[in-house]
């Protein structure tokens, strides 16, 4: 928690509420329906009571929320959507109360009593009423017109057609069932964990290498699909350092459930800062004589045909391993990355992620230890 508490401080929960109010005011204040916002925002999300409490990511020391939801936004698009969500709750709750109230009233007041049954005649037959029917046609028209305006305005605000000024550009490529990240301006290729600077816009270009996927980190932005042959874009700007979690949101086959997303927004400076991370990623892979046997096994077997290690192998089918150990998790998030889980994974990936596309290579113990030694040296 060393850096986390310092960064986030005690302003966190206050800022949440203020942000909702400000954003709601600017988006929807002109709509005369903004009355719904303060009440609901002040009531705090009852369904996510813990979302404002924080824990500390063990590998980076960055803060992360106990529950990574859209109700704890950390980026302008997500914050705008959160404010909109409370507005929608307000409007829908009002409609709900009116309609269900009328229904319940009719059920209670007009249910047949015994004396009615005895009377035997029918109640007064009402065939309709032009003014009443006009009212419940026109009022909904007005409501949906207002909602349409709000929708169109927010679409325009959030869905950008060009990158924000000074944005960091990252190409995201969805694979069955992992994520590839390329930083074209920095010459970095990595996998499964997106590392970005906090307080700087990030412009994602979304692609897919095989089937449809969807990139969804609720605290940063709404989801956007990765579709082969149909590149999409998405932007966010983490307003505070932290770890933001999500997962693939478009069914993509067997291991769709285990295609997890992890975004680390880091401060620019410092030993764990973004610049230090970039410098490490841009450096050549560790070349240590003590791990040469493992590298030889890696090159002699099928490993090198799928995995890229800069200057060593050029596989393109699996995740880039050049700086494997700079990552916190394994197999697109199925396990924390340490020597034990790495060994288990290399021995038989199907035990950790049944159905994934990496087969067990049936290494003997010596080969296994050598390869794991080698991989574990790739910091």
């Amino acid at each position: 928690m060393r850096r986390g508490s310092a960064v986030r401080g005690d302003a966190g929960s206050k800022r949440e509420v203020r942000f909702s109010l400000r954003s709601a005011g600017s988006r929807c204040g002109s709509l005369a329906l903004a009355w719904a916002i303060p009440g609901f925002a002040a009531a705090a999300p009852p369904i996510a009571p813990d979302s404002l409490s924080e824990i500390c990511d063990p590998s980076t020391g960055l803060p992360m929320p106990a529950i990574p939801t859209m109700f704890d936004p950390a980026s302008p698009p997500a914050a705008d959507i959160e404010a909109l969500t409370w507005l929608l709750f307000g409007i829908c709750a009002a409609i709900f109360v009116v309609v269900q109230g009328a229904l319940v009233h009719a059920i209670i007041k007009y249910r047949a009593r015994r004396r009615d049954e005895a009377a035997g005649d029918e109640p007064r037959q009402v065939y309709g009423s032009n003014p009443v029917e006009l009212a419940w046609t026109v009022i909904p028209v007005v409501i949906v017109f207002v909602l349409t305006l709000a929708s169109v305005r927010l679409i325009r605000d959030i869905e950008r057609t060009s990158p924000p000024e000074g944005a960091l550009k990252v190409v995201v490529i969805g694979h069955q069932w992992w994520w590839e990240y390329r930083y074209p301006d920095l010459g970095i290729v990595t996998a499964n964990e997106l590392v970005v600077p906090a307080e700087r816009p990030v412009w994602l270009e979304l692609h897919s290498a095989d089937v449809n996927h969807s990139w969804w980190v609720p605290q940063l932005a709404g989801k956007m699909d990765c579709i082969p042959g149909h590149p999409n874009t998405l932007w966010f700007e983490a307003d505070r350092p932290g770890v933001y979690l999500g997962q693939c949101a478009e069914y993509c086959g067997n291991q769709h459930a285990n295609m997890l997303l992890r975004v680390e927004a880091r401060a620019v400076d410092g030993p764990l800062g973004f610049d230090a991370w970039v410098a490490n990623q841009q450096s050549p892979p560790v070349d240590d004589d003590s791990t040469t046997p493992g590298r030889d096994v890696f090159l002699a077997l099928a490993c090198q045909s799928c995995h890229d290690i800069a200057g060593v192998s050029e596989g393109a089918f699996g995740p880039n391993l050049t700086h494997l150990m700079s990552r916190a998790t394994l197999g697109a998030g199925v396990a924390p990355l340490d020597r034990d889980s790495l060994r288990q994974w290399v021995d038989d990936p199907q035990t950790l992620k049944p159905g994934c596309n990496m087969p067990s290579l049936k290494l003997d113990t010596n080969q296994l230890d050598a390869v794991v030694d080698y991989l574990a040296s790739l910091r």
């Binding site: 369904i47 996510a48 813990d50 529950i67 939801t69 109700f71 959507i81 909109l84 969500t85 409609i95 309609v99 009328a102 229904l103 009719a106 059920i107 007009y110 249910r111 047949a112 049954e117 109640p123 037959q125 009402v126 065939y127 309709g128 009423s129 009443v132 029917e133 419940w136 909904p140 909602l147 929708s151 169109v152 927010l154 679409i155 869905e159 979304l206 095989d210 089937v211 449809n212 969807s214 969804w216 709404g222 699909d225 579709i227 042959g229 149909h230 874009t233 999500g246 997962q247 949101a249 069914y251 993509c252 086959g253 067997n254 291991q255 769709h256 459930a257 997890l260 049944p354 159905g355």
Partner: protein, 559 residues
């Protein structure tokens, strides 16, 4: 009324005398709209039980995180088969089948316009469904194992491509749905022609029961929507088997094109599934409120409006596909717009109940439950039309909760209401009211317990179609609640099935008009004779039986 013959002898007539083979043969070769309707409903109910079992296994798997009750492969097959079954083999056949049974009776016709086409449509549906399920035995997946389709009920390209879906399970999905789809097209056409040309003397379009209006629009929507789906499925079949590349982006095809084709079918399909439910409720609520439907002309106008607007809202399933701000805004606006006619219907139903003398017999319980649940599904639908909100919750459990409120709390509740309402007509005997009320309350409680928490798990970040979910993301409680509701729902469904079976033999004899209703089907015997009416009816208003029962104050003068 008393002039029409009651034929108590016909009650349970099927049981007597003839050998079983003769009776089965008679069902197999029948072209009678009533027998076909009953067979539609029965086969739909069997598929409903199958789809329900699939859903229960899924909920057992998701009762806790990192569960391993079923493998990912099996889970992916389960949700594919559950969705496909419930839409194509439960919703469509039961609703079209009830339309088949009721429309000729309600418009005073002797049968559907094309009886043999009608039988053809039923058997296509049934064998299409069996073909889909034969995949469990006959289809080959990876490593030659037998598998069911596992590409999701909307089968997005390119997951359906040979590269990613090996074996032939996806071909079973295509062919099974295509065959039953042809059957639906036949029935849709038949409904339209029957309603337009077979109405009895005096029944103008504006005197038709609202159910007939809804079925007319449903028939037209079937014709508009099923064609594009069938075309897309043929293209997909070409892609998979003849080396075409319509949906293969590696070879210049378009994965997005499939989504447009599918949802151009898929959203009208939602209204195909819900308009008949509106129709059932529009018949049940007046009868049990003892009042004429409030605002009939506006109800008709709203139905027609829904029919038109439903053809231009399909891409609201695709807000996260990256269509660009202009198309997103258009489909958002159209989706908001369809809320207006839908809202009008809800207000008119409540208006009908207002000032009535409501008897809460089992059909009315289900119809009222329908209104209450459908309002919730409609409101979450409005939320989903708000594009930026949709970007967060699209493809999450929020959507799963939403459409179950529409299709289960909505359509299925209305179907059960309709079953309880017209069962005495079709069988000649009453269902047991006590059992029926128990089944309603069990279903109502279980339904809400299962599906309401899904909105919350979805907003907390749980995507749909995952065979397991991450611990420590706040999802455990909502999922265990969802799973526990299944027990209550299963109990409710078992009670309904038991009631349907038992009452066929043991129920009290219904008589022609057990609910004291006003539409034509209640003027003939229960069950009706093969030719429906001994004398071709003539009507003078929307409620011909009201006119008979209240000759001093007939309806016609107010319409």
């Amino acid at each position: 009324m008393s002039t029409l013959t009651t034929r108590p002898a016909e009650v349970g007539a099927a049981v007597g005398g003839e050998p079983l083979a003769t009776r089965l043969h008679r069902w197999a070769v029948t072209v009678d709209h009533k027998r076909l309707g009953i067979m539609y409903v029965l086969s739909g109910l069997v598929f409903f039980l199958v789809g329900g079992i699939e859903a229960s296994i899924m909920r057992a798997q998701l009762a806790r995180p990192a569960n391993d009750l079923v493998s990912p492969e099996v889970f992916n097959q389960l949700f594919t088969m559950h969705g496909t079954t419930m839409v194509f083999l439960v919703g469509m056949p039961i609703l079209l089948g009830m339309g088949n049974y009721l429309v000729p009776l309600m418009i005073g016709a002797r049968d559907m316009a094309f009886p043999r086409l009608n039988a053809f449509g039923f058997w296509l549906f049934l064998f299409g469904g069996l073909l889909l399920y034969f995949s469990y035995i006959g289809a080959q997946g990876l490593y030659g194992t037998a598998v069911a389709p596992d590409v999701g009920w909307f089968a997005y390209a390119p997951l359906t491509d040979r590269t990613f879906s090996r074996g032939n399970s996806t071909d079973y999905w295509i062919l099974g749905i295509m065959v039953s789809g042809f059957g639906s097209i036949a029935t849709g056409l038949n409904l339209v022609v029957t309603i337009l040309s077979m109405r009895c003397r005096g029944m103008t379009l504006m005197r038709m029961p609202l159910l007939a209006w809804m079925m007319l629009i449903v028939g037209l929507l079937v014709l508009a929507a099923l064609g594009p789906l069938t075309a897309a499925q043929v293209m997909l079949l070409f892609d998979r088997n003849l080396g075409a590349h319509f949906f293969d982006p590696q070879e210049g095809g378009s994965a997005v094109l499939w989504q447009h084709f599918f949802w151009f079918f898929g959203h009208p399909e939602v209204y195909i599934l819900v308009l008949p439910a509106f129709g059932f409720v529009s018949e049940i609520i007046p009868t049990f409120s003892r009042k004429v439907i409030f605002g009939y002309p506006l109800m008709v106008a709203a139905t027609v409006a829904i029919g038109f607007i439903s053809l231009s809202v399909w891409a609201h399933h695709m807000f996260a596909v990256g269509m660009g701000p202009a198309l997103n805004a258009f489909f958002s606006a159209m989706t908001f717009m369809i809320a207006v006619p839908t809202g009008i219907k809800i207000f008119n139903w409540i208006g009908t109940m207002w000032g009535g003398r409501i008897r809460f017999a089992s059909p009315m319980l289900f119809a009222t439950g329908f209104v209450a649940m459908f309002v919730i599904g409609g409101l979450t639908g409005i939320m989903l039309a708000m594009v930026p909100f949709d970007w967060q919750v699209s493809d999450s459990y929020f959507v799963v909760g939403h459409f179950h409120y529409v299709l289960f709390g909505g359509t299925v509740f209305a179907i059960f209401g309709a079953l309880h309402y017209w069962y005495p007509k079709a069988v000649g005997r009453m269902l047991d009211e006590t059992v029926a009320k128990w089944s309603f309350w069990l279903l109502f409680a279980g339904f809400n317990l299962t599906f309401f928490p899904m909105h919350i798990s979805g907003m907390l970040g749980m995507p749909r179609r995952i065979y397991t979910f991450q611990p420590d993301r706040g999802l455990e409680l909502w999922n265990v609640l969802s799973s526990s509701g299944v027990v209550l729902q299963a109990a409710g469904v078992i009670l309904i099935v038991w009631n349907l079976l038992r009452s066929a033999r043991k129920g009290a004899v219904a008589g022609n008009d057990p609910w004291d209703a006003w539409t034509l089907e209640w003027a003939t015997t229960s069950p009706p004779p093969e030719h429906n009416f001994d004398v071709a009816p003539t009507v003078g208003s929307r409620r011909p039986l009201w006119d008979l029962k209240h000759p001093e104050d007939p309806d016609g003068r107010y319409e």
